[in-house]
Structures are given as structure tokens and as C-alpha cells.
């Protein structure tokens, strides 16, 4: 029996993850708030702690948690920061 493939037939390219940095020294960290309740509480605390460690962080916010981040936002984060910490869920 011959069947038709019901899937997208996509074969996504596998990409290696970037290696984890050995240290956060001289790195700039993006703190991404996806607009879920209490995400700001979590990120405020992280920002405070990072600041105490002398590590620079920048705050970014997705317009809504229900949609993927806008391309502009992703590009801005990638161009301005070295790492991202995302407050994913409430």
C-alpha cells in the first residue's frame, strides 16, 4: 500500500547549541518578560542580584505571552546582549 505523507515533510536542520559561558563576567544579559503574571517579580529579583554581582542586564518585554516574540525584538536582544533569561510562566 502506498500512502501520502500527511506531514509538512520538513526536515529541519539540526543546529548545535552555543556553549554555555564559563562566566558571566563582561557579559550583558537580556531579561525577557513575556507579560505573564509575576514574571516582573522574578525578573526584578534577578536584575537586583545581577546588579549586585556587577553584571549588566537589560529588560525586554514581549507584547503578549500568547504570540511568539516579534522579529524586531529578537533582533534587538541578539544585537545588544550576550545571554537571555526568560521568565517563561507564572
Amino acid at each position: 500500500m502506498r500512502l501520502l505523507d500527511p506531514t509538512s515533510e520538513n526536515e529541519p536542520a539540526q543546529r548545535e547549541r552555543l556553549p554555555r559561558p564559563q562566566s558571566l563576567a563582561n557579559k550583558r544579559i537580556a531579561l525577557l518578560d513575556i507579560s505573564k503574571p509575576k514574571g516582573d517579580v522574578f525578573l526584578d529579583r534577578l536584575a537586583f542580584q545581577l546588579d549586585g554581582m556587577g553584571i549588566e542586564s537589560r529588560r525586554f518585554t514581549k507584547p503578549t505571552f500568547t504570540r511568539v516574540a516579534p522579529v524586531d525584538l529578537k533582533h534587538q536582544i541578539a544585537s545588544e546582549c550576550d545571554l537571555v533569561i526568560e521568565a517563561l510562566a507564572d
Partner: protein, 489 residues
């Protein structure tokens, strides 16, 4: 016009000039005109093909065998007898059935069929018997289908194979053979290659063909395909936010509400057990959409589908509005369509929440009663977040009809009972941490955002129950807005 002219030339001599006739023994008109066919053969020398018996007509020699129906298929014969005039291999005229004068004119044989009736209608060509065009398209390799072919080894069970490939939602699927998919595609005039939309979560351009394949697997009949296509189109609209509906930890799933003439045309159920099982169209249309999201979009439980609990409607949830005896305008009419339009509305909903009220005989009482249950949507202390779909049963509708309440009146009265003082539903009020933020303390709050309550009539004639299908916690512009799409043929 012709099915692959190049291949036709292997059946008929290149640059053939003359006449081709196609007949079958099992046709009274073909048998009737045997003398005329013999005259043609004698005087013109033409090609005569028989669909069911190469020995027919017995009195004519050299009848060509078309029992494989390839010539009939390639010449797109719909009726026998058919007489076609070819000039250097190109068709110039075609006659279907027997009209003596037309045959005489075309063949320039003024005595042709002398003594035969002036007119006799033909019969259907075997090549257009139900299901046959798809079989022949498959057999003669003219399928427009682009999808990758996957061979199932003879010793493998094709149903188990589908499970193993991950194509199933957990229930058996109908194996999508080329023949079945071609039959499914006969349910629409749209090209198999047409892109319906970009399916999340993998953002894949989804063709009519891929939808048809998944509709076959879901168990749809071809006449359901236009509804499935409209549903897929709706799911791809940014307003509906299918990615979020899939990715949420909440219960949400696309719930389909079908309105308009197509409901009856394809035999949907809007009466007894309107939200339940047992009707093929209701059961498979919603499932087809879910299979498209799963297979084409790549959205699977445990993958991008992060539902904590989910709900049985995620197998597929499709209902039809009971329009024929409704006192109120339908959902589609409220949303700007006419009675003649067939539409599908997608609503991001959770499970079914029953409302029992067997005592209210006055509309005021029943409205308060329904409002009381509606206040619990999402959470009794959260207002303005989740939409809802309210399904009014015929026996509850009777109360409003009896009092002459229009749908607009009902909506107005209901809205009055769905507002409350913010301070009563604040976070931490009543010893419950959940609730509205403090900024609402001095405000009146509405349970539903404007446009966030859909109302539909459905169900069997007996039973003073209505139902709420609760919406997604992220309803409205920040998440999902119900989308209505007209169903095209």
C-alpha cells in the same frame, strides 16, 4: 481540456484525422445506433472504442478495446455514445448521445441512421461512475498530488504503521491512499496546490492537498472538505492566535461552530446530543483540523502543546447551530453574514460546563440563572479575561420565545447580571488569593469583554439544560478572538 494529450497519442495515431466513437454494450442507445456506427465504419473508416465489451458491436470488425478506460478517461468521455471529430490529432467537434441530424451534419452523411429515431439520450460513461475518475487518475498517473509517497510493506498493518509514524491523535486513522485523497479533493473546486494559510506552530504553508490528506485520515467525506478548509483558514488568522491556543497550559482548543445551509447539506447534527458523538460530520471535521495542526503544523502534546490537563474536545470539537426553529438570529447573522452564507466560526474554548435550570419559566429568572453560571467561567473572581460560548437549548429558548425576548434584549439583560463591584472579586477577597488586581476596587467590572460572549442555539427538544463552553484565559486582542470564515465550494 484533454487529459494529457501526449499520452493520448499512444492510443490514437498521431495526427489522426477523422472520427472517434466511444460506446458500451450496456447502453440501449449504443445498441440502437449499431446500424449507424456500421455505416460510419464502412464509409469513413473511423475508430470505434467499446468500454465494456470489445466484441460489441458484433456486426463491426476492428472495434478497439477500452475496457481499461484509458481512452475514455483521456478524452474525458462523460456519456456514451460520444462521437468526436479530430483534425490532425486535435478535437474539433464532439457529440454526446444520439441526435440524428447532428450526427449527419458532422459526418456529412445525409442518410446516416435512416430508420433510427431522431433522438435518443446516451448513458453515463463507465469512466465517470462514482469514484472512477479518481481511480483512473491514479491508475494512469495523472494525479496532481505532490505529497511524498510512503510505501507500507506488504507484511505491515497500515493502521499500525500510521500510529508508528506519529500521524494519529491516539485513535485509528484511515490510511491516506492516493485514491482516497483524490476522492476527497473532489469535494472542492480549489486547486490541490493552493496555500490555505501558514500553519503554526512550525509556520508551514499548508496546501489544500495536505488538508485533504488529513481529512481522509480523520474520516471525513469529500463534501466536508470545504468546511475543513474554512476551519484551517480561520485557524491561520492572526486574530485566532492558534500558536498560543496550542502552546498554552490552559484547556483551550479550536472549537468549530458551523452555520448556514451546508449544515443540512452534509448532514450535521444540531439536535439531540449536539455536542456529543455519533454524527460523522460533527465528529470528523473538527478532528481533521486537529490532525492538520498536528501533522502539518507539527503541534503535538508534550511538544508545543503544553496543556496541563487538556480536554476531550482536543480530539476535535465541531458543532452546528440549530437554525431551523431558532427564535433568535444565528451566530453567523450576528457576525455579519446572511442566511444563505455557510460559515465556520472558530472559538478557542475549553470543556463543556452544563447549566441546569428546570424551574425558570420567566425570562428574567432564566437570565439571572444563566448569568450565575456564566460568572464562574475561568474563575468566579476573574472578570474580563476569558470569553465564553453559551449554548441555549430549545427548551430554554422556549422561555424567551414565549416572552417575546429578542436576542438583543437577552444580551442586554444578561450583561446587566454579569457586572459586579470590583471590590467583591479582588485578589484575597473571601480568603481566596485569586482575583482581580486592586486597581479595580472602585470600579464596576464586566464578566465578558465586548464581543466576548457568543450565543448559539443547539440541542434536542427535551431538557431544560443549557451549556457553557468556557473560553481561553487569554481571550481578546492579547490572545484569541473568535474568527468567522465563509465556506467556499
Amino acid at each position: 481540456m484533454l487529459q494529457n494529450t501526449a499520452r493520448l497519442q499512444s492510443l490514437i495515431p498521431v495526427d489522426f484525422t477523422g472520427f472517434v466513437a466511444v460506446v458500451k454494450r450496456d447502453c440501449a442507445t449504443c445498441r440502437l445506433i449499431e446500424p449507424a456506427l456500421r455505416e460510419l465504419k464502412d464509409s469513413l473508416g473511423f475508430l470505434l472504442y467499446s468500454q465494456d465489451d470489445p466484441a460489441f458491436p458484433n456486426s463491426i470488425s476492428g472495434v478497439r478495446d477500452d475496457t481499461e478506460l484509458e481512452l475514455s478517461y483521456r478524452l474525458e468521455i462523460e456519456v456514451v455514445p460520444t462521437l468526436i471529430q479530430l483534425d490532425a490529432g486535435r478535437e474539433t467537434h464532439r457529440l454526446a448521445g444520439w441526435q440524428r441530424d447532428d450526427w449527419r451534419r458532422l459526418t456529412r452523411l445525409p442518410e446516416l441512421g435512416e430508420g433510427l429515431p431522431a433522438f435518443s439520450p446516451g448513458c453515463g460513461s463507465i469512466s465517470v461512475d462514482p469514484g472512477m475518475p479518481e481511480k483512473l487518475a491514479y491508475k494512469f498517473g495523472d494525479t496532481p498530488l505532490q505529497a511524498r509517497r510512503i510505501e507500507v510493506a506488504a507484511q505491515q498493518d497500515e493502521h499500525e504503521f500510521a500510529f508508528e509514524r506519529g500521524w494519529s491523535d491516539g485513535l485509528p486513522v484511515i490510511p491516506p491512499t492516493e485514491e482516497r485523497v483524490l476522492k476527497m479533493l473532489a469535494g472542492t473546486t480549489r486547486s490541490p496546490a493552493e496555500i490555505i494559510g501558514i500553519i503554526p506552530p512550525d509556520n508551514i504553508p499548508c496546501t489544500v492537498e495536505k488538508v485533504a490528506i488529513n481529512a481522509v485520515m480523520a474520516g471525513c467525506k469529500p463534501e466536508y472538505l470545504p468546511v475543513v478548509l474554512a476551519a484551517v483558514e480561520a485557524a491561520c488568522r492572526d486574530d485566532f492566535c492558534m500558536h498560543g491556543v496550542l502552546a498554552t497550559t490552559y484547556f483551550a482548543a479550536p472549537i468549530l461552530i458551523v452555520n448556514g445551509p451546508i449544515r443540512d447539506k452534509i448532514g450535521m447534527n444540531s439536535g439531540n446530543n449536539a455536542l456529543g458523538q455519533g454524527n460523522r460530520a460533527n465528529s470528523t471535521i473538527g478532528r481533521a483540523l486537529q490532525l492538520v495542526i498536528r501533522n502539518v503544523g507539527g503541534g503535538r502534546p508534550g511538544g508545543v502543546d503544553r496543556a496541563a490537563l487538556g480536554q476531550p474536545g482536543k480530539f476535535g470539537f465541531c458543532i452546528a447551530e440549530r437554525e431551523h426553529d431558532s427564535y433568535w438570529e444565528s451566530l453567523a447573522l450576528e457576525r455579519g453574514f446572511s442566511r444563505d452564507d455557510s460559515t465556520v466560526t472558530l472559538f478557542a474554548g475549553g470543556g463543556v460546563h452544563p447549566i441546569a435550570d428546570q424551574k425558570s419559566r420567566a425570562p428574567e429568572s432564566l437570565t439571572r440563572s444563566l448569568a450565575l453560571s456564566l460568572r464562574t467561567v475561568h474563575h468566579a473572581k476573574i472578570y474580563g479575561a476569558a470569553d465564553a460560548l453559551l449554548i441555549i437549548s430549545p427548551e430554554h429558548m422556549r422561555v424567551f420565545r414565549g416572552a417575546g425576548w429578542s436576542k438583543v434584549r437577552f444580551r442586554d439583560e444578561l450583561a446587566r447580571h454579569l457586572t459586579t463591584d470590583g471590590r467583591d472579586v479582588l485578589a484575597d477577597a473571601d480568603g481566596i488569593a485569586e482575583g482581580m488586581p486592586k486597581r479595580f476596587a472602585e470600579k464596576r467590572v464586566n464578566k465578558f469583554r465586548p464581543g466576548g460572549l457568543l450565543i448559539v442555539h443547539a440541542g434536542g427538544a427535551a431538557g431544560m439544560w443549557s451549556a457553557i463552553i468556557t473560553g481561553w484565559a487569554a481571550s481578546g486582542p492579547r490572545g484569541s478572538i473568535p474568527v468567522t470564515v465563509p465556506i467556499k465550494s
